[in-house]
């Protein structure tokens, strides 16, 4: 998950290779990207659990 996040935020935020290190705009983008991705996957985790539980209940009613 960590490496995926690095790849995602790198791909989305860093496109300019005229300098060697991240400039502040890129750095800000990376920070927001990580923030947003973590919040998003937390939310997805909650919904996933709900749906998964509902599906299991549908499969074996009364258990």
């Amino acid at each position: 998950m960590y490496s995926k996040l690095v790849q995602r935020c790198f791909d989305d935020c860093v496109n300019d290779f005229t300098t060697k290190s991240l400039h502040s705009k890129e750095e800000g983008c990376v920070m927001r990207c990580v923030d947003k991705y973590l919040k998003g996957s937390e939310r997805l985790g909650q919904r996933f659990q709900e749906q998964n539980a509902a599906m299991m209940q549908g499969q074996m009613p009364g258990r």
Partner: protein
Amino acid sequence: MSFLFGGRPQPSSAEKIAAAETEVEMVSDMFNRLVQSCTKKCIPTDYREGDLNKGESVCLDRCVSKFFEVNVKVSEKMQGEAAGRAGGMGMGM
């Protein structure tokens, strides 16, 4: 008392553990795919803020629902086809 009822062989605990492991692996693989697809589809790549906004949140919620629905549809269809093949056996596999 299960021996009274013709005792279907109980899966050994090792088998149960293996089955549970496979299950956990499948579910977590599915979850990883879901995160990948839904974040890609719902979260624009300009990252103007670090929080999820309303639209993104709603999109993620719906994305999970649809992902599950697709999952069910595909599994139904594949089961149907497997059953069709099993029914038509002997007619040139």
